[in-house]
C-alpha cells in the first residue's frame, strides 16, 4: 500500500505541473484582459504539434523544439491580442466568441498540417526512469520528470518576473485595477500584449513538454481546457496563487480518486467539487469580489 500511495503522489505531481502551467496562463490572460480565452486548449495543442513537427518528424533536439513551441505559441498569442482581443476590449462576450473562432481555426489548421487519424508519434526524448528512492514498484520515467522540472522552472521565472520587475508590477497593477493602472501611466495595450504573450507561451510550454506523454491530435485541447477552467474557477478567477495551489490540490484529488476508486468518478467528483466551492465561496478559494 505504501508504494501505491507514493506512486500515486508521483503521478499527481506530474499532473499538477501540467495543470498549473495551463491554469496560470489562462488566469494571466483573464486577469489583465478580462477575456475568457476558450482557445487556450488549442494553444496547448499548437505547442504539442510544434514539438511533433520539429522533434518527432524533423529530429531537432527535444528542448530546441520545446523552446520553438514556446516562442511560436507566444507569437500566436500576441497576434490574437493585437488583432482580435484589443478591438473587443470592454466586450467580454465578443472576446469569448472570437476565442471560440480561433479554437476552430487552429483545430482545422492542425488537421491540414498534420492530417487526421491516429495520434502523432512522438518518441520520448529521455529513455529510462527513476526508481523513486529505491522503493519497489515506484518509478517515474525521466520524460515525466522533465514536466515537473520545466513547470517549476517556468513558474518560478514568472513569479520573479511579476514580483521583481517593473513590467511585472505593471501587469499585476493592471490585473488588480486597470483604471488605476492607467492613471499611473501604465499602458493597458502593452500590459495586455504582454499578458497574452506570456499566457500563450505557458500553454505552448505545457503542450511542448507533454507532447511525448499524451495523445497529440487536433482535439487534444478539450480535456486540457476543462481541467484549466476547473482550476481557475475553484482557485478564484484572476488569482495566480489560487491557480497554482488549486492545480496541485485538484490534480492530487483527481489522481487519488482515479487510482483508488474510478476514473469516471474522479471526473464527476471534480465537477462536484467545483459546484461545492462555488456555492460556499462564489469568488473561488483565493478570489476577491469585484469592486462596484
Amino acid at each position: 500500500m505504501t508504494s501505491l500511495i507514493i506512486q500515486t503522489v508521483v503521478n499527481a505531481f506530474v499532473s499538477s505541473s501540467f495543470a498549473a502551467l495551463m491554469a496560470v496562463g489562462l488566469v494571466m490572460i483573464f486577469g489583465v484582459m478580462r477575456v475568457i480565452n476558450f482557445a487556450h486548449g488549442e494553444l496547448y495543442m499548437v505547442g504539442a504539434y510544434t514539438v511533433w513537427y520539429l522533434y518527432g518528424e524533423n529530429e531537432l533536439p527535444f528542448f530546441v523544439a520545446v523552446i520553438a513551441a514556446i516562442a511560436l505559441v507566444g507569437v500566436v498569442g500576441l497576434l490574437m491580442e493585437r488583432t482580435l482581443f484589443r478591438p473587443m476590449r470592454g466586450n467580454p462576450l465578443g472576446g469569448l466568441i472570437l476565442s471560440v473562432g480561433v479554437l476552430f481555426i487552429l483545430q482545422v489548421l492542425a488537421v491540414i498540417i498534420g492530417g487526421r487519424g491516429l495520434m502523432k508519434h512522438i518518441p520520448p526524448a529521455l529513455e529510462g526512469q527513476w526508481d523513486v528512492f529505491g522503493i519497489e514498484g515506484v518509478s517515474v520515467p525521466f520524460q515525466r520528470l522533465v514536466v515537473i522540472g520545466v513547470a517549476v522552472f517556468l513558474l518560478a521565472l514568472l513569479w520573479l518576473f511579476l514580483k521583481r520587475t517593473k513590467l511585472g508590477w505593471a501587469l499585476r497593477a493592471t490585473a488588480q485595477d486597470p483604471e488605476a493602472a492607467l492613471l499611473q501611466g501604465i499602458s493597458i495595450n502593452k500590459a495586455s500584449l504582454l499578458a497574452m504573450g506570456l499566457g500563450a507561451a505557458l500553454a505552448g510550454a505545457a503542450g511542448g513538454i507533454m507532447a511525448p506523454l499524451v495523445r497529440v491530435d487536433p482535439a487534444m485541447g478539450h480535456a486540457a481546457i476543462i481541467t484549466a477552467f476547473i482550476v481557475i474557477i475553484v482557485g478564484g478567477i484572476g488569482s495566480l496563487e489560487g491557480a497554482v495551489v488549486v492545480a496541485v490540490l485538484y490534480t492530487f484529488f483527481h489522481t487519488f480518486v482515479t487510482t483508488f476508486l474510478d476514473g469516471t468518478l474522479a471526473s464527476i467528483f471534480g465537477l462536484v467539487l467545483l459546484l461545492v466551492v462555488l456555492t460556499i465561496k462564489p469568488t473561488g478559494l483565493f478570489g476577491k469580489g469585484e469592486k462596484h
Binding site: N11, M119, Q129, G137, S139, V214, T264
Partner: protein, 429 residues
C-alpha cells in the same frame, strides 16, 4: 437596312445551327459516358477525433478496394458494369453528426449501402435508415436488435471474437491465473468488458481488477498504477481506443509490468514497440492481423490478394494501418458478391442475397448468420477469428479459433455478463 446586316430569320437559323452543332459535339461524350454506370457506397464513420483510428483507415482501405474493382472492370450486374464510388462523411462518433451524414449520403448522394463503425452514433441514425430501408453495416454487432432489420454485422462480431484470444492464452500459458481489465465506458468498452469477463471465467482466470475510465482521460498513469497494484498475471486493455492502448502500454512499461498483455486491438504496434521495447511487447495477444501475414493467403480466406492489399495500403497511406483498414473493404467484397448474385444494386435485393441460405463467405472462412440469443436478430456473420501474437516485434496469426464452438460451450456465461452490464439487446433500449 444594310445588306450586310443580319435579318431576324438569318439570326434564328444561324443560332439553331450553332445550337444543334454544339449539342452534337458536347452531347456525344455525354452519351458515351452514360453507358458506364456508377454505384455509390456511403462511408459514415469517425474520420476525426478519438475514434478516428477505427474510421479513417477503413475509408482508405475502401478507396483501394474500389480502385482495384474499377480497374478490373467494375461490378457486373446483369449486362451492366458498375464503377464503384466511395462517398464518405465524418460522423465524429456522434449520433447527431451521423444523422446529418446519413441523410446526405442517402438523400443527396443516392448511395446503395452505408458502411458504419457503429457504436454511439448508430442510435442517432437508426430510425432514418429504417425508414429508408437502407442496407447498413456495422463493425459492432452490439448495435443489432430486432429493430434493426436492415443492419448487418458481416465482418466483425465485436466483441465476441475476443474470447478466442483469451482461450488461446489460457491454453498456452496456464500459469497466468489472474487478470486486470480497464476500458473506457461506452458502447465499445462495455460489451467488450462483458465478453472478457466471460472469456476469463470460462478459462478459469480470475478477474482481480476491473475499472472504467473517462473518455476525456489524458494521463493514464494513475489508471495503470491502480491496475498493477492488484499484481495481475494478465493486463487486459479491452476495446480501448487505439491511442489509449498506445498510452496504456507505455505506462505499463514504465511502471515495470512483466506479465501478459491482452487487448482487442494493438493498432500501430511498431510505434508502441519504439516507445517501450521489443522484449516488453513480446507475446502480446490481440485480434487483428497485419495483412502481410502468410496465413491470410491460404485457402478459406475470402479476401483477394490480402498481402498485396497490405503493401498497397502502406504505400498509399504509410504508418496508418489499423484494425479496420481491411474490414470495411472485406464487407464490400461480400456486398459485391451479393449484388452480382442478386443482379441488382438496390439495397433490399443485396441484403436478401447476402443472407440467403443462412450462411455467407466471411473473410476468415465460411460462416453463419447468427445472433438471435444475444442481439435478438440473426444479422451477425460468425465463424472463425484469428488470434494474433507479437513475436520478435511482428504481429503473426498463431491460430484461427471458432467462435461458434466457444459459444456452444459457454453461452450462458456470456449472456450472464452481458446481462450484468446491461448489454443485452432488450436492456440497451
Amino acid at each position: 437596312m444594310s445588306t450586310n446586316s443580319l435579318t431576324r430569320r438569318q439570326f434564328v437559323r444561324t443560332s439553331a445551327a450553332i445550337g444543334v452543332a454544339a449539342a452534337t459535339v458536347t452531347g456525344l461524350p455525354r452519351f458515351a459516358a452514360s453507358a458506364e454506370k456508377t454505384v455509390k457506397v456511403g462511408f459514415l464513420a469517425p474520420l476525426t477525433g478519438e475514434v478516428a483510428g477505427w474510421g479513417l483507415p477503413g475509408r482508405d482501405g475502401c478507396l483501394i478496394w474500389a480502385d482495384w474493382v474499377n480497374a478490373a472492370g467494375g461490378i457486373k450486374v446483369g449486362a451492366d458494369s458498375y464503377k464503384v464510388e466511395i462517398v464518405s462523411y465524418d460522423d465524429e462518433y456522434a449520433p447527431d453528426k451521423a444523422l446529418l451524414g446519413g441523410k446526405k449520403l442517402v438523400l443527396e448522394d443516392g448511395v446503395k449501402i452505408v458502411l458504419m463503425l457503429g457504436g454511439d452514433p448508430w442510435p442517432g441514425v437508426q430510425p432514418f435508415m429504417n425508414e429508408q430501408k437502407m442496407l447498413c453495416t456495422t463493425l459492432l454487432p452490439s448495435d443489432l436488435s430486432p429493430d434493426t432489420p436492415y443492419l448487418l454485422a458481416p465482418c466483425e462480431v465485436h466483441p465476441i471474437y475476443n474470447v478466442t484470444g483469451v482461450e488461446w492464452l489460457a491454453a498456452n500459458h496456464p500459469e497466468a491465473k489472474t487478470a486486470a481489465i480497464v476500458a473506457q465506458q461506452d458502447a465499445l468498452g462495455l460489451p467488450s468488458v462483458a465478453t472478457y469477463r466471460a472469456a476469463f471465467e470460462a478459462s478459469g482466470i480470475k478477474v482481480v481488477h476491473e475499472k472504467f475510465f473517462d473518455i476525456a482521460t489524458t494521463d493514464f498513469a494513475p489508471i495503470v498504477t491502480a491496475m498493477l497494484a492488484t499484481k495481475p498475471d494478465i493486463i487486459c486493455f479491452d476495446t480501448a481506443y487505439p491511442d489509449y492502448v498506445n498510452l496504456l502500454c507505455e505506462q505499463a512499461f514504465h511502471q515495470g509490468f512483466k506479465g501478459k498483455i491482452v487487448s482487442c486491438t494493438m493498432d500501430n504496434y511498431p510505434q508502441i514497440i519504439e516507445k517501450t521495447s521489443k522484449e516488453f511487447m513480446e507475446g502480446v495477444i490481440f485480434q487483428f492481423p497485419d495483412f502481410d501475414d502468410p496465413a491470410l493467403e491460404g485457402t478459406g480466406i475470402n479476401f483477394k490478394n490480402a498481402n498485396a492489399f497490405f503493401a498497397e495500403y502502406n504505400k498509399r497511406f504509410p504508418g496508418t494501418w489499423t484494425a479496420v483498414s481491411w474490414e470495411y473493404a472485406s464487407i464490400l467484397e461480400l456486398w459485391k458478391a451479393a449484388v452480382e448474385k442478386a443482379g441488382s444494386v438496390e439495397p433490399l435485393a443485396a441484403l436478401e442475397a447476402m443472407k440467403a441460405g443462412g450462411r455467407a463467405p466471411h473473410i476468415f472462412g465460411d460462416a453463419q448468420w447468427w445472433g438471435k440469443d444475444l442481439f435478438g436478430i440473426d444479422n451477425a456473420l460468425v465463424g472463425n477469428w484469428p488470434v494474433v501474437r507479437i513475436t520478435d516485434g511482428k504481429a503473426k496469426i498463431v491460430e484461427y479459433r471458432s467462435i461458434p464452438v466457444w459459444w456452444d460451450k459457454n453461452k450462458d456465461v456470456l449472456i450472464k455478463h452481458f446481462r450484468d452490464l446491461k448489454q443485452m439487446w432488450d436492456q440497451r433500449a
